[in-house]
Symmetry: none
Amino acid sequence: MVTKQEPAPLTVGELPHAVNGLLQQISTHSQSPTICIFAILLLNDQTLAKGEYNMASTLLTRIYNQFNQFSKTEKRISTYILNHAELIPNMTTKELALKADVSEASVIRFAKTIGIGSFKTFKIALAQELAVKEEYITDFTILQKKDSPHEMFQKVVHVNKNAIETTKESLNKKDLEEAVHALKNARKIVFYGIGGSSIAAIDALYKFTKLGFQVEFNSDFHYMLSRVPHLNKKDVFVAISMSGKTKEVLDLSRIAQKKGAKVIAITNINKSPLYKEADIRLATPNVEEDFRIGSITSRMTQLTIVDTLYICIFNMVGEHVLEEFQEARDYVVKLRR
Amino acid sequence: MVTKQEPAPLTVGELPHAVNGLLQQISTHSQSPTICIFAILLLNDQTLAKGEYNMASTLLTRIYNQFNQFSKTEKRISTYILNHAELIPNMTTKELALKADVSEASVIRFAKTIGIGSFKTFKIALAQELAVKEEYITDFTILQKKDSPHEMFQKVVHVNKNAIETTKESLNKKDLEEAVHALKNARKIVFYGIGGSSIAAIDALYKFTKLGFQVEFNSDFHYMLSRVPHLNKKDVFVAISMSGKTKEVLDLSRIAQKKGAKVIAITNINKSPLYKEADIRLATPNVEEDFRIGSITSRMTQLTIVDTLYICIFNMVGEHVLEEFQEARDYVVKLRR
DNA sequence: GATATTAATGAAATTAAATTTCATTAATAT
DNA sequence: ATATTAATGAAATTTAATTTCATTAATATC
């Protein structure tokens, strides 16, 4: 096996030249940068020479390393902090005291014990430290009976963001391009989804209406049964189903296909019938969900894909369509006067 | 009184020279730095090139972009913040008020103007933003004409995640608890939203139906005009409007309130009529969106709040309701055999 | 083992900081 | 010119953090 050669770190003397080159690239490729925030990590060999000492470690590392030297009250506090780090910056001393089953004064003392002048400063320092961490420390995926509404809110934010991020893992570049191409040239676009997936269908309907496309969606399956047979090879049928096994979605997809329409499926990457049979597959990830709660995160992945399709078409069609839309809105405003 | 001159931002051409000078200073004063992390904020006028669209922006960018719409007091505060961003997280309202030569109340108001629920939260959000070290050469918030579908997909993922995250900055803990309490004890819950906000209304309708609540939503405003007057003080009306100025939403909210129903608003934190008049405000952040593209990210924030309400109520009501729902689903499956 | 001293701890009081309220002034609409 | 609305700062109130004080626990000394 060939070992990857580690990049040699820059010396201080090489810095101006290297940074200059980077800035030239920015200047070249960004005519009018809005904001460009970047940090440069200058990592030097951290094997310390004789007489040198490591003066820095992260806050959480310090808490973890000093755990055994803590009193039992300090241990309770640090255990809670280490397990719920992301929640701490928005907590009061009272809230943390309650959660850790200690007094507020102990919380204040703990901040001082760990080397921070005040709990307020501790929270800000922790917030900054967590902002640069790529993974979460707090296990946000477990919903607990005793969670406060705010804690549940934090968890919802986390799992929704995570779901959207995992869409990157499932969606195929080429499939997306094919879908965009098919939609762009469609005479008519019909969307269909049931239950939670109907949210994405309605959202798509709304967005593509704004883009000026001839679109259709109705939650009434029987009504759709009388509409879909009128599709032809110039049309696109967008089937949205997390599982890919929803009977009504499958039935309509098959009819549309029989009529020559291109069937785009927004469905989980797996071996479902819809996944197998669709002409174009926009794969959503298999986000694991407690079946009791029902689908929340998967809807976010569907909506992100719908957003992407909309943005892609919008970018192609350009501002002309927008102008028409704006005219309509202005007209409505006028009518109200 | 002498007006303070606004800081002129660096042009791209001036960057290499300025950074070079900074690096020389580092080289001179640090013989063997272990870690040296710094960030450079380059604020520029967001004059977009033809074919470019703005999909979202950071806190400091928001402040910078909205600068011209600020009152003179707001301008003083934002000027100070933009010039001393790193200092703000550790300042009190009094300190910032003194530095900016405004009142403390104005500082509190400014945080709300910029879309953050409190000054305390503003400080934490700013601290986190400043701590982020990710190196952006491509600005994920700017949509460019030449972007491929995959690149646009990456951008959509980024701004949608970011929008959900910023919901933490605006939603107030206490408001959430009040809303959860009101919903839990409601005899009937009516949802209403128009356009993009109707997606969140439909999603809420679907979720609270599953929880066993008596719920209602219809996109037909006139139909709702005949339904809402039948509400009473045991009921809850959930108004969903990003801007908080949508006439139909306002009208229905006022009728509901007149009938004694509790009005919960899911709306942007600002001075809109809906925000002022609602009994309970679930504040969504002012995610800055290019009006030409329309609201994408704000819908994600609304849906996240709806998810949170659902999860909170679900957690309280317990699995009992789920069993009833599961029975209904099993029954449907049986009917198909 | 008893006693004295020190440390840990929580309740309560105090202080600090944030936020809201109220009155005044400025800006805008009619 | 007048009325209305918005902006603003001072002051009051509320929230949150911190300090103080008394009690209990742990440790050291005899």
